[in-house]
């Protein structure tokens, strides 16, 4: 099995379907997004087949590119798989390999697929002690240990000590760690060479990207939401320019997307929006999230996840005000990574703030089974949302890729009930 080929076929089918069944309600840029993805998957497959260095789960796409490689986010690939029938097979592999089974399936299953050779293997494994999410860090360590075994290629591994707090000292410390990583990568992976000038260019591309996401943030405050829920829940990270080989094409996608949204807001839209909700955590592909919410005339304004940079809550790349000075490229990376670290109270603060900024009537909190750090925060967020904003939260529990815990009919019934209740409260 080759999951990259499956993803290529998936996008080819989607593009063909879009051409055969045009939808005037769809953004033109949505098609561009699927083209960007297709290019990305094709280039990844070619790189894999040619034996070029690949850096999956790398701390940063810009840094991977500056080293002359490509970052690959396994979870990002897995969540878009057209066929989830392999889930039981990967789940069994997780048990057989001795990996923790009661953990976020978005991490355990792709890691199993990578070890089984169905996703591209790393040329260098990087684990960090406490990065974006603890489960991410935990599973990257497991992945690094597995790929370091002789039978899987003795892939060199490197561990980064990521600070738990955010401060200028922490940024400097992490930047130092990233510097060590760069040296290690150059010494241990043939073909990798750090280019600081290239790094600066890539950071500029990422700065433009964040500027676009900030514009989108503002446009999303418009009622009704000027896009479909599927288009709305495209996470900014999925279209980070440096995740792909053609950053300019990705920036083009963002440019056209923003132009279209501005146009829709200026002209007004014939669309009924009864409710406006924040969806917390990834919309699981095994549920018809978009179909159900569109039927309920419920707009999903955002996928509430670490979104500090993309909402303007945290400084953008290149910001010199925060520490009163210009940062080096590695310090920029460190600041970006640390800004996205998920911490309990900060997470809850951010979710409440997002609801306030975007005028939400309710929160749909998908409490992901096995999510060690934000799974348990559902109740805290619900209590704060009720107390501080006067809005209710529905907490749904389930996995991302396995429908066992939350069957589609139960999801439909609970969402319908919740929507009725929120409307009753509003009236």
């Amino acid at each position: 099995m080759n999951l990259i080929k499956d993803l290529i076929a998936r996008n080819q089918n989607i593009l063909r379907d879009m051409d055969e069944h045009p939808d005037p309600a769809r953004l033109r840029s949505t098609r561009m997004g699927f083209e960007v993805e297709l290019d990305g998957y094709t280039e990844l497959l070619e790189a894999w087949q040619a034996g070029k260095p690949l850096l999956p789960q790398f701390p940063s796409s810009t840094l991977a590119k500056a080293l002359g490689s490509q970052n690959v986010i396994y979870q990002d690939l897995f969540i878009f798989l057209p066929d989830l029938s392999g889930v039981p097979r990967y789940t069994q592999a997780v048990y057989d390999m001795g990996m923790p089974a009661y953990s976020c399936d978005v991490f355990t299953l792709p890691n199993a697929a990578a070890i089984m050779g169905e996703l591209p293997p790393p040329s260098l494994s990087v684990a960090d002690s406490g990065g974006v999410c603890r489960v991410w860090s935990y599973h990257n360590k497991i992945l690094a240990e597995h790929f370091n075994k002789p039978e899987l290629g003795s892939v060199p591994k490197f561990e980064i000590d990521t600070p738990k707090d955010y401060s200028e000292e922490s940024v400097k410390y992490l930047a130092g760690q990233l510097g060590e990583l760069v040296k290690f990568a150059e010494e241990n992976v043939p073909g990798l060479k750090y280019d600081e000038d290239r790094h600066k260019e890539l950071i500029k591309a990422d700065t433009k990207w964040v500027d676009y996401t900030l514009k989108e943030w503002e446009l999303k405050k418009h009622i009704p939401l000027p896009m479909s829920n599927m288009e709305s829940l495209v996470h900014p990270l999925h279209f980070e320019p440096c995740l792909y080989s053609t950053p300019d094409k990705v920036l083009d996608f963002w440019r056209v997307r923003i132009e279209e949204l501005k146009e829709r807001v200026a002209k007004g839209m014939d669309k009924e929006e009864k409710l406006r909700c924040l969806w917390v955590w990834p919309p699981p592909p095994h549920l018809d999230v978009f179909g159900v919410t569109e039927r309920l005339k419920m707009s999903l304004v955002m996928w509430g996840a670490p979104l500090g940079v993309f909402s303007g809550r945290y400084p953008n790349w290149g910001d010199e005000e925060e520490f009163g000075r210009k940062l080096s490229p590695l310090e920029e990376e460190a600041r970006y990574v640390l800004g996205e670290v998920v911490r309990g109270k900060t997470w809850a603060d951010d979710v409440i703030w997002m609801c306030q900024e975007l005028g939400c009537d309710a929160i749909i909190y998908y409490q992901l089974t096995g999510c060690l750090h934000v799974g348990g925060l559902a109740k805290l967020v619900a209590e704060r949302a009720e107390k501080e904003l006067g809005i209710p939260t529905i907490v749904l529990s389930g996995k991302t890729l396995d429908p066992a815990d939350l069957p589609p009919e139960e999801f439909d019934a609970r969402m319908t009930e919740f929507a009725d209740m929120v409307l009753a409260r509003k009236s």
Partner: protein, 257 residues
């Protein structure tokens, strides 16, 4: 206009038939969810026979209860919380919170003029449901209905350590072996159920007028236990088990008009 509401539970199926605003028949059929459609049809037929009408006289039927089951002879399915809020407004309009305790669910609905404004439920946890009591009553060799009698004769409080219905069985067996009286075990179980339900009430915010509905509402021991915990009297309507079906019939009438 004649309308009907069907409430399909895991152990019983309830039907209420309304002629405009008057209840002309009700039916409670014991049977599980193995053949929900068949039971729903049977309960409906028995209710229409009691009312002296034909099925075709019913203008609109709304179903509620178990999800994911298509009831072909109902025009639609409405969430339990909505049906309970409507039903309880009809039988006890002063209700601020409806607490629905059934065989496999505990559902709390804060209501405002017949509409749910906050909901809390037990999710997949059996603690706080009829299942919890059923486990204990089987071990004591009594019917669930008899647990109240034992509860009222209890002389000591036992705090069950298990918060989970799965581990409850082994804990009760240990208590029996330690010669703990059935009365005290019954009290422990009923208080345990009440304690599992209490956080749901806190979730929606406590109010003065709490009405107990559902299959377990007729269990006096549960009402006493909850009143002890809450420090207030609970309201219990004359036919608590059919409140959701009544609400469904009311919604059927609203939609048909």
């Amino acid at each position: 206009m004649i309308t009907a509401g069907i409430d399909i539970g895991t152990e019983t199926t309830k039907v209420v038939i309304l002629d405009n605003n008057e209840v002309i028949a009700r039916e409670v059929l014991i049977g599980g969810d193995e053949d929900a459609v068949g039971l729903g049809k049977k309960a409906l037929e028995q209710a229409t026979a009691k009312a002296g009408i034909e099925l075709t006289d019913i203008k609109n039927i709304i179903a509620t209860g178990l999800v994911g089951i298509n009831i072909p002879f109902a025009s639609g399915q409405v969430a339990e919380s909505m049906c309970i809020a409507r039903g309880v407004e009809r039988v006890l309009p002063s209700t601020m919170i409806a607490l629905d305790l059934g065989a496999s669910k505990s559902l709390v609905v804060k209501c405002n003029h017949g509409k749910p404004i906050k909901i809390a439920r037990n999710g997949k946890c059996a603690a706080g449901t009829g299942k919890y009591l059923e486990i204990v009553s089987k071990l004591l060799g009594v019917e669930t209905d008899e647990m109240t009698g034992l509860f009222l004769k209890s002389k000591a409080d036992i705090d069950f350590q298990s918060t989970c219905a799965v581990f409850l069985e082994s804990e009760v067996i240990s208590l029996i072996h330690m010669k703990t009286s059935p009365e005290d075990i019954a009290r422990g179980a009923i208080m345990g159920l009440a304690k599992r339900t209490y956080p749901l009430l806190l979730d929606v915010g406590l109010e003065e007028k709490i009405t107990l509905v559902g299959g377990l509402a007729g269990n006096r021991g549960i009402a006493i236990a909850l009143e002890e915990l809450l420090g207030q009297k609970l309201l219990v309507p004359p036919e608590p088990q059919i409140v959701a079906a009544l609400g469904a019939a009311i919604i059927a009438r609203e939609r048909a008009s």
